[in-house]
Amino acid sequence: MKPEILLGDEAVALGAIQAGLSAGYSYPGTPASEIMEYLIKAATKTKAFVASWSVNEKVAYEEALGVSFAGKRALVSMKHVGLNVAADPFMNSALTNAHGGLVVVPADDPGMHSSQNEQDSRFYADFANIPCFEPSNHQEAYEMTRQAFDVSEKFGVPVMIRLVTRLSHSRSTVRPREPRGQNELKHGASQDWTLLPVNARRRFRAVLDNQAAMVRLSEESEFNSLRLNDKDRSLGVIASGIAFNYVQENLRDLENPPSVLKVCTYPLPGKLIRGLVEHVDNVLVVEEGYPLIERSLRGLFGIAGKTVKGKLSGDIPLTGELSPETVRPALGLKPLESLDLGGFKLAARPPQLCVGCPHADTFQALNKALKEYHQGNVFSDIGCYTLGAYPPYQAVQTCVCMGASVSMAKGGAEAGIHPSIAVIGDSTFGHSGLTPLLEAAAADTNMTVFILDNGTVAMTGGQPSYASGERLLRMIEGLGVVKEHIRVIEPLPKNLDKNAQVIKEEIDHHGLSVIVAVRECLEEAKKRRRGG
């Protein structure tokens, strides 16, 4: 088949389709969104499988699990923190004897380009006792995804493909192979899928009993390789996933290259690691994310007679994203010569709301109304409106995780903060805002919730939102919010005074109010005008 230039995300999606995917689910989040974008485009064209955005990652995961129960192959993708949301089904699905291949693809964001932390999903795979593939390039992302479905069906567990931003959002050539067909419908066995203690204990045992076979598979994997230098045994490098490339990139500058073990599969291939460690005096571990391999290698007491270098020893930076230059010093190389600014200061250019964005008008009205109160706080959430933290608005004081604005405003109000205000977008509200609002309505907490309804998941490129428009208003009422205190405003410059007045009235109301600010995202309006 013809080679194609694909994003790392797209290589995974294509691999899944050609492995006989029956359904894919996801919630938008950088850097994972393009996996589902690709699946949806392909599914729209061929109508051969299901691909859809879910209301959140937990729901997405459970939908995929239902497909696996039915004997068919399913993929669920999300950004790394999305796996926290789906952690409950994820951990338990390790025990449910998946018989239709189930592949979970979290995309990590080392360096926090678009995220609130840089957690390393490999630890989740380890936690759940399931295999994990960590591609170093696009072809591997494609091949590993295909293989992951087989491994999942072989062991009856979900299998993880761990991506990182730099692979997700880099394009390179992929040479696809012949696609294969989908599985037939075949119902799961209830004794495997009903995790009552009696079944769960048996299933857990079975997963543990399979660990040795999973290690063997990892040891034999074509994605790992060991290259020993017999002339010089001073240094051996263990490099995993994309970090392997950064080591390779620098090797040509070394007269005497170290022995190198490439590790791209988990559980760790013990035999290969022993093969390297026994061959050399010093070991350097280079991995993107947290020091998982390095920690396993060191244990509590280290390896007698050898030094282990890496992130924990300070030879490789412990935080942020790796690059060819961050690994040079650990390999004993000086930085390359380059041009530089020589003290010339450059102004930073942080991201910001689009000119004319409806959120800007909401923040202006909110700031205006809040001038009369002194001790208040605005709890924000995840979306374009988080940019309201920057000047000129500086309108919000928190951003923690999906839905936290509403729950934190409730906690804040109960601790004595007034006004206690939550700001959440329509899609984020659908994702994780309903449950805390239900609670706040039941307690009639003295707080004000803003739902910014721009009709889309704007930050990630305009995916559909489930909690928007008329349906959103009915949902709020259905949760038990008193009708008189559900107010709708249109955030436009000409409505500034009127909107600030509404906000003041609702802050002064002793109890729960919800203000819905309705105006379409500009980017979406543009897309609609262009007819797509």
Partner: protein
Amino acid sequence: MKQDIILAGVGGQGIISIAYVIASAALEEGLEVKQAEVHGMSQRGGAVQSHLRLSQAHIWSDLIPRGEADLVLSVEPLEALRYLDYLRPDGMIIASRAPFVNIQDYPDVETLLNRIRKIPRHLIIDSEKLAKEAGSSRTQNMVMLGAAAGRLIVREENLTRFIKVLFERHGETIVASNLKAFALGQAVAAAADFVPASGAREGKGGG
């Protein structure tokens, strides 16, 4: 044969389109390609860059090592300077002189241009003027691609071919204005040349 290029600009200026055209041309010519780009938060009016690597041999890293870029191609003068430490000492910089002002502390444009002029091999292009001449101020990215075309290791006819592919679905007028933008950038760059250090000159459309 290899070439490492940093493409720079502000979210929304069409960096990814430039990358698409060069990368597709390179694939057509049998080169290996890796192209790292920025999605997500920074795309909202923030600084964005793309690392584009072309090579006959295998390419390992998706990121260009600091000190290895052959070219910084920027649709904006402030952003042109942001990635200077990626440029090898004999690398070149091709920058637009049209500022994209969306921050309060945007520096004086002449000061920026003077700093760019200190780089031994530089070319400053008035992409705004040329884009308007091409019929749409949105074609500045193609002006800049045209200005760089003669220095790229891919053939110019393959570049224009993929400009057509890229804009096809937007209709003939848009294809035509982007091709014209490309040609205008090309012409201005051809009239200038990179004389190292003291003799550095700028294109006629620039200055």
